[in-house]
């Protein structure tokens, strides 16, 4: 395509052009005024005008411009909302389907354009391919602001127009955005933003629209859950009950709080205070009891994950008698500033003769009932060291202590004559949460007097909890002067030290064993001489540090300190019910190992059978991704066994709706505002075919500029014109 036109010489600025035009107009005006006042000949006026034009031409030096080029179809970018939220209904079909239909109509209508379809949600928009849409991961958010910022910052050709296909319930800009904010957003690209609304009306729906908490979740400290409940689509709402529950492993959900949302003008806000006693990842379910007619059941509950921290680890240390072993443990616990220690030691027995009145004694009664009822939930872990459960009336509290462990508490039973079988724990509920079984009292002697050096097991060599001791002492351990009788390991438990001679069933008898029980963890230590890691010739080699290293590892593992976990686990993306989920497993570098992952549902009284998922990690692989498959809504715990190391656990939630479904109301008004501020149009999705394409883009490929006359000719003509005009004036007697 060739286009021809005229121009002026290069270097002539617009200011000069305007100045010349003004001078020329002034000159013509003077001529006209003169002709009226002096009745001069029209020829003089004409020659004056011609002279002015020739002078202007001499300055501007007119050129002829010839361009060759092509008209390109305009570039149009379609931003398609990819949030989960578009799985909500718009009439009989999903909003996503409506969006796809609008996209199809648009693709037909805008054939004379270069259409680029991008999906937006979180961060920069990504190319959208409809055939791969079902397999792709869907975002929760609809962040149009981030998408527009990304487009404006991208190099290359700018689009002539944008088309946003959404229901308008955007994460950003929100419905509260000001006109100035919208103007700034639309002005970033400087092109019209057309919007296509995929939904017009809100479905009848009561939902938990917003969940917020004041402050971080800290164990034992009150947390306030702030809920916004909404009711829309003509659903009759008045008072809606709300319950908050914690999902536990192998237990029914534990109630944390409850309340009522009193809906006024379609909205209610509720504050529900509750306390999470256990640190780590905790799953909390918030349920809204909705009235009949609710069409969106997915947003009637939320599954919230809290990473509960603790200010200090609160430990209860109970010892049946004071010994050097008790002393060493107490001194180590007291020296650790991160531990809040509550200790009770039995300092006298009923058979002791103190030879003093009670008033002369500094002894207080052992508050066993108070400790194991009222205060038990406030502890992160309990250490029972060589204490007789029967003699000290602990027996009746063992069921509660077992429940405490299953609910997430930690337990360490430290050996001695009055621990394990010797302390009356065989057959008790507490024995069921220990990582080892305890033989019946009559089935075996509770103790063995033979000296021995505990042997480190394969798991002990792999366990991060024993890394510190290994680094200081290698595999040597001090000689112990006897052992408790412990039974075989419970399923899933791990033995780190074993007896070199005694056996529990077919296997060597565990002397140090770790295991999960429900949401809690327990450690069984069948010796009473770990202080020998400090107070022995072997212990002296490490200047006594091996003792601290052992207990730091054990308490750290018990408290789920990531340093002592065998693997770091995280979801590859947010888990959504009905969509495939995957887990990233990161382990310490080492030899190739088999990884066994089992998946169980949380919050069910009868634990569902774990679903084993095998995986092999080769030597140089530190992170592997395991596909968990398609999960239904609920809380889950993934237990990962890496080789022989103690298992690591990861709790997570899969939501049907999640925050994406929290507010089911479309917001067409927001889309209209965006279009208005940017100079675009807002249409219903069904009207996509009526959207007009922007004009084509002309791209020049060649441009030729040639002067109409040489510059000296223009100068000569201007001089001649001045001469002629001077002569005419002279003849008319005007000079």
């Amino acid at each position: 395509m060739i286009e021809r036109g005229f121009g002026v010489a290069e270097g002539v600025s617009a200011a000069l052009l305007w100045s010349l035009s003004a001078l020329l107009l002034a000159w013509v005006a003077l001529l006209v005024l003169e002709s009226r006042s002096r009745r001069v000949s029209p020829w003089i006026v004409l020659s004056g005008v011609v002279t002015g034009l020739l002078l202007a031409a001499a300055v501007l030096r007119p050129t002829r411009v010839t361009t060759r080029g092509t008209d390109l179809f305009p570039k149009v970018v379609v931003l398609l909302d990819r949030s989960w939220r578009l799985d909500l209904k718009a009439g009989d079909q999903t909003r996503e389907k409506v969006a796809f239909e609008a996209l199809h109509a648009l693709q037909k209508q805008l054939k004379q354009t270069r259409l680029e379809v991008l999906g937006f949600g979180e961060g920069a928009p990504k190319p959208f391919v409809e055939s791969q849409a079902a397999a792709g991961e869907r975002p929760t958010d609809s962040d149009l602001t981030a998408a527009l910022r990304s487009l404006s910052a991208a190099p290359g050709e700018r689009p002539k127009a944008l088309v946003v296909i959404s229901d308008g319930r955007l994460t950003s800009p929100s419905e509260a955005v000001t006109a100035a904010g919208l103007k700034e957003l639309a002005g970033r690209l400087g092109v019209p933003i057309h919007t296509l609304k995929v939904a017009d009306s809100a479905p009848p729906d009561a939902s938990i629209r917003k969940v917020a908490t004041t402050g971080a979740a800290v164990a034992h400290q009150k947390l306030v859950l702030q809920l916004t409940v909404g009711c829309s689509g003509g659903l009759a709402c008045d008072e809606l009950p709300i319950t908050v529950e914690e999902l536990l492993h192998g237990e029914p959900p534990a109630s944390l709080a409850s309340g009522t949302a009193k809906v006024r003008d379609g909205v209610a806000t509720v504050e529900l205070p509750f306390t999470l006693d256990r640190a780590g990842r905790r799953l909390v379910r918030v349920r809204l009891d909705v009235p009949e007619g609710d069409r969106v059941p997915e947003n009637n509950q939320r599954l919230l994950t809290f990473d509960v921290t603790r200010e200090r680890v609160r430990l209860l240390h109970v010892a049946g008698r004071p010994t050097y072993d008790v002393r060493a443990l107490r001194m180590w616990l007291k020296a650790d500033e991160s531990i809040d220690l509550i200790a009770f030691f039995i300092l006298r027995t009923t058979s002791d003769n103190m030879q003093a009145d009670d008033s002369e004694l500094a002894l207080i009664p052992f508050p066993v009932d108070e400790l194991f009822t009222e205060h038990l939930p406030s502890f992160d872990a309990v250490i029972l060291q060589d204490i007789d459960a029967v003699e000290y009336k602990l027996e009746r509290h063992l069921p509660a202590l077992a429940r405490y462990v299953r609910a997430g508490g930690g337990l360490i039973m430290v050996g001695g004559p009055s621990a394990f079988m010797g302390g009356g724990y065989s057959g008790s509920p507490l024995a069921e949460v220990l990582p080892v079984t305890l033989p019946d009292r009559d089935a075996a002697p509770p103790l063995d007097m033979a000296s021995f050096e505990p042997r480190v097991t394969q798991a002990g060599r792999a366990a991060p909890a024993l890394r510190g001791v290994r680094e200081l002492l290698g595999e040597r351990l001090p000689q112990m002067l006897g052992s408790n009788t412990l039974g075989p390991l419970r399923p899933g438990a791990i033995s780190l030290w074993e007896h070199p001679d005694r056996r529990a069933g077919k296997d060597p008898m565990p002397m140090l064993a770790l295991g999960d029980s429900g949401d809690g963890r327990a450690i069984a230590l069948g010796v009473d001489g770990t202080h020998l890691l400090q107070w022995s010739e072997l212990g002296e080699r490490s200047a006594g540090r091996a003792y601290g290293a052992l207990w730091e590892g054990l308490v750290g593992w018990l408290m789920r300190d990531p340093r002592y976990e065998s693997a770091r686990l995280e979801l590859t993306h947010e888990c959504r019910a009905g969509a495939p989920a995957a887990l990233n497993i990161t382990r310490l570098p080492g030899a190739a190992v088999d990884v066994k992952v089992s998946l169980e549902r949380l919050g069910e009284a009868t634990a569902s059978p774990p679903r084993p998922l095998p995986l092999r990690m080769e030597g140089d692989v530190e992170t592997a991704t395991l596909q968990l498959g398609v999960l239904t809504e609920g809380g889950y715990t993934a237990t990962v066994h890496i080789g022989n190391a103690p298992p690591a656990r990861f709790d997570f939630a899969c939501e049907s709706g999640g925050p994406a479904f929290a507010d089911s109301r479309p917001d067409g008004a927001l889309l209209e505002r965006i279009s208005k501020e940017s100079g675009g149009v807002s249409l219903r999705a069904a009207e996509a075919a009526s959207l007009q394409a922007p004009p084509p883009t002309h791209v020049e490929s060649q441009r030729v500029v040639a002067p109409l006359l040489p510059a000296w000719v223009w100068a000569l003509l201007a001089a001649s014109g001045i001469g002629a005009h001077w002569y005419a004036r002279r003849r008319a007697g005007l000079l």
Binding site: R327, D352, N353, S359, E360, E537
Partner: protein, 255 residues
């Protein structure tokens, strides 16, 4: 005269032997038992009636408390690695200990730095040469930790019995000097002949009379010995906040 009023001893040393046999049979539970090992330096051993003091100390602890104790405490040299096999030792004597060898100083330093507790018991506090010489040697071993006077509210006075002051065979000064490292009193410097108060003859009677002669004083000495043992076994357990209101009430009642 108070000595004559002493009630029939429930336990005599012959009985101690039988009990010792019964306790040692449970070797498993005894690995962490209180063991008042006697320090030997420069070949100087604790001799005479006070050599029964450590066993008697263990016996009193067993009879009065739930704590296990070794009834046949051994001697331990400061220059032997066995010193660091347990966290407690008692260093008693009545004359100047002389200059410690380099190995002894090194062993003592290691024991203290590992967290051990040492009781220095001057058997002849009137003369005081033992106590002075030990202080001199300790200053060479731990120059950064000079002895300080323990406050009357120190946990040592309430670890088992509520006592007002240190007491041994002699009444001695009403306070104790100690080398305190961190929060722990690790070397207790006694000028009360504590082992003298605990020493018994083969027949079970007390070997040495208290000064002044008093049944109550001996009882108080034993209580103080029990408190020291409990301090070794439980450290500052009775300083825990949970005990505070109870102990305050008890002290108020006693007044």
């Amino acid at each position: 005269m108070f000595e004559k009023k002493a009630p029939r001893r429930r336990v005599v040393l012959t009985g101690l032997a039988a009990l010792a046999a019964a306790r040692t049979a449970r070797a498993f539970g005894d690995v962490g038992a209180f063991n008042p090992r006697v320090v030997v330096t420069g070949g100087k051993r604790l001799s005479g009636p006070r050599s029964t003091g450590p066993a008697s100390w263990s016996m009193e602890l067993i009879n009065r408390t739930s704590a296990p104790a070794r009834l046949t405490p051994r001697e331990v040299s400061l220059d032997r690695p066995e010193l660091c096999n347990e966290p407690f030792a008692i260093w008693a004597g009545e004359s100047d200990v002389g200059s410690l060898s380099v190995a002894e100083r090194r062993g003592l330093s290691k024991f203290i730095r590992l967290g051990g507790v040492l009781v220095v018991d001057d058997s002849d506090p009137a003369q005081g040469s033992f106590g002075r010489s030990v202080r001199r040697e300790l200053l060479r071993v731990l120059p950064e930790s000079p002895p300080v006077r323990l406050d009357a509210s120190h946990v040592l006075y309430k670890t088992f019995y509520i006592v007002d002051r240190p007491v041994g065979r002699v009444l001695g000064p009403p306070t104790i000097d100690a080398i305190v490292r961190g929060k722990n009193a690790q070397v207790l410097l006694l000028s009360h002949d504590l082992l003298g108060a605990l020493a018994r003859s083969d027949e079970g009677s007390y070997s040495l009379a208290t000064e002044p002669s008093s049944y109550d004083q001996r009882q108080h000495a034993m209580r103080f010995a029990v408190n020291i043992a409990m301090y070794v076994l439980c450290s500052d357990y009775k300083d825990d906040q949970v005990h505070a209101p109870f102990l305050m009430r008890r002290r108020a009642q006693a007044r």
